[in-house]
């Protein structure tokens, strides 16, 4: 049994896009505005550039070891034990990312819609959904993402377009903001929101033509990054940067301010939340899948299904750790920033060492045992 090589370029792009667009879109404008006022769109753009660079780096590394998973080829590059240690860190990071995605989702839902529902229930339902879906193989995984993509992108673009009715260009000037000092921190946080795209390491080995991954990356960043940028532009143009600082979830507030023409719907926040739930699910699905898959490969198991349920209690407990919403966002920002060391720094290290040691995977070599 070989690694199923049936994932198309389009599907790879779809996986990346729907993974990137996730829980973070709600607070993204707040992070960006906090660091650079009216320069928020520029900060976002820099963040997107960092994310693009990191993805290209991953693709370059992966192309050297076409059909292998990074947990396995990293052992060839830097030796068995250091690679395993790093592997554990990466797995831990994505487990943490999954937890906090679920937790942030729960907080939003409880604050804005289902006020009486216990937090544990919303978080658990979402995590169980991800856990059950993770029992599928990589092609089903790609299909699910592909299927949800239009549902995600369409309504978000519609809401942005309609909201621009109240926009004022003056809020976007000057483009570099009024205190350019904090720009880098902001850009790093924004880049942190793209980290789900590490899922590329799982998808690429299963691609029909891995060489075309670069093409999918460009498309994915163009669409997902474009949406990020548009959201920030719309939010800042409509509210003005000082007001954005008053809003915990500016994007949700934007949907609340936007109405469909002719009084069909007077506020779009309910519609937006419905789309957003889907977006959160696809992100959660991807990070959960990545965690389970990487863990099974680390332990040399063939099948990651065991971990889909075994991981659940750990992820759930971690999601329950933050004591309140302020603390949660504090932790999330720290985790996102330091996570970049693992999702950009580690692959960079691997690539450099691989180039120096001239390590390369062999296509004719028998590929590693498939996962599913």
């Amino acid at each position: 049994m070989e690694y199923p090589r049936q994932i198309t370029t389009l599907q790879t792009a779809a996986v990346l896009i729907s993974t990137i667009i996730g829980v973070g879109v709600l607070s993204l404008p707040l992070f960006a505005v906090r660091s650079a006022d009216a320069g928020a769109p520029l900060v976002t753009l820099i963040g997107i550039a960092i994310a693009l660079a990191s993805l290209l780096l991953l693709a370059k590394l992966q192309l050297r070891f076409k059909r292998q998973f990074f947990i396995n080829y990293s052992e060839q590059i830097i030796g068995k034990w250091p690679a395993r240690a790093f592997g554990v860190l990466v797995i831990g990071f994505f487990a943490l990312l999954t937890s906090f995605t679920a937790r942030e989702f729960g907080e939003v839902v409880i604050t804005s819609v289902l006020k009486q529902t216990p937090l544990e229930v919303t978080v658990m339902v979402m995590l169980m959904l991800a856990a059950i879906s993770t029992r599928n193989d990589i092609s089903t995984f790609a299909y699910v993402h592909h299927f949800y993509l239009p549902v995600l992108v369409g309504p978000v673009l519609l809401i942005i377009a309609l909201s621009l009715k109240n926009a004022d260009v003056i809020n976007l000037l000057p483009v570099w903001g009024n205190k350019p000092g904090g720009m880098l921190t902001g850009a790093i946080t924004v880049a942190g929101l793209f980290q789900g795209s590490f899922i590329l390491t799982t998808v690429m080995p299963a691609m029909r033509h891995p060489d075309k991954a670069v093409k999918s990356i460009f498309w994915a960043i163009m669409i997902a990054g474009g949406i990020y940028l548009l959201i920030v532009i719309a939010v800042v143009a409509v509210f003005g940067n000082e007001e954005v600082k008053n809003l915990l979830w500016p994007t949700l507030e934007l949907a609340k301010t936007t109405s469909l023409p002719a009084n069909i719907l007077e506020r779009l926040d309910a519609a937006f939340l419905a789309v957003w739930v889907t977006a959160v699910f696809t992100t959660l699905f991807a990070t959960y899948y990545l965690t389970a898959h990487a863990l099974s490969r680390l332990l040399g198991l063939k099948d990651h299904r065991l971990f889909s349920s075994a991981l659940l209690p750990f992820v759930f407990v971690m999601a329950m750790l933050p004591q309140n919403i302020m603390q949660m966002y504090q932790i999330i920002q720290v985790v996102l920033r330091y996570g970049l060391l693992l999702t950009i720094g580690y692959p960079l290290l691997l690539l450099i060492v691989a180039v120096i040691r001239k390590k390369k995977g062999n296509d004719h070599e028998k590929p590693m045992e498939p996962s599913s």
Partner: protein, 395 residues
Amino acid sequence: MTLLVPLVTGCWDRLEIEERAVVLGIGIDVPEAGTFEENQVTHRSDIPLKKSKRVHLTAQIAVPGRIPLGPGEGGGGGGGGGMQTVWVVEADGHTIEDAMNNMQQRVSSPLFFGHLRVIVISEEYARRGVQNLNDYFHRNPEVRRMNWLLVSKNSARELMKVSPKLERVPSLYLMTSLDQAVKMGKLPNLFLGYFWSSVAAKGREGTLPYVELQESGTLEIRGLALFRGDQMVGATLPIEILSYLGIEGVNQGGGLVFSQVPDVEDEEVIFSNSSRHSKIKVKIKNGIPHATIRVYMEGNLMEKSSDRFRLNSKMILSIEKQLQENAKKGYVRLLQKTQKYGSDIFGFGEYVRAFEPRYWNREIRTSENWQKMYRKMTFDIFVDINIRRIGMKGR
């Protein structure tokens, strides 16, 4: 499948529509001296709370089943006029949430703000500052940003109690009168969210519609309430709303103005504006921001006071000139008034921040500094008015 998730968990939050107390309008006053009711609901009376923050709340709550669903159902079943569509409830509190809680003690069903349309505050409350109000309504996820926030010359309580003839739901009447004024180009669209953005912005101050309840129970728009920070500091005249619209260049033309007729004694014409457009440029001159405002307007002649004079194209041109002069005078006086209060409702400061960021970062930075600098600002105003049509009369 994911879309079903909220439905599954929704059992906790199931609340039938008739089990909610749907709040349509809220009025906020400063309680009159001696009438404050101390309810020991959120606190015991031994906690020291400042008297200066007390509020009196009046809410219009929809009575289930009494609200007609459309204009077509008028008077059906002999209901209509006699039956009250809303229930007016009042409560006191130390903050808005406290007062809401006291109100909740009196209303059986949970208060629901998803359909809130109008928030009225009394002038006294507005002058005291609206930070508490901004905080409360920002925090509440049910409240929409498209609500109207009004400053009332009378107490907000009176405004909540009017029962107008045109609409069966009083709050909707308030809302419709303002919405229509916006559509007719007589009022800028100063909805709640815009007010919040202006209050938060460093280079702009908030402004709200300023209304008065007439003896007959009708609502009259008296001008714009000027804010500095979160406090109301003054109000404009009704005609100055048009000046505001002109400077801002709100292209929903509307509003009528008198103009003298040059060379004809004691006769006037009325000009009706149909479209507006303005350009604002801000430069720094001698260390002080200087704005050049160009206003372009088009409109029609609606009326002349007698047949003693005839209209011809030459006369129209001279009337245009007169109108331009009048408009310019009006703009200058409005600008002076706002400068006197340090209330930059036009957002010139935002222009400085956007186009002269270096100057802004060096000299201004905070909204307090801008309030001071705005008083010193200088202006150049150019007005261009064209009368295009004169109606269906030949001369």
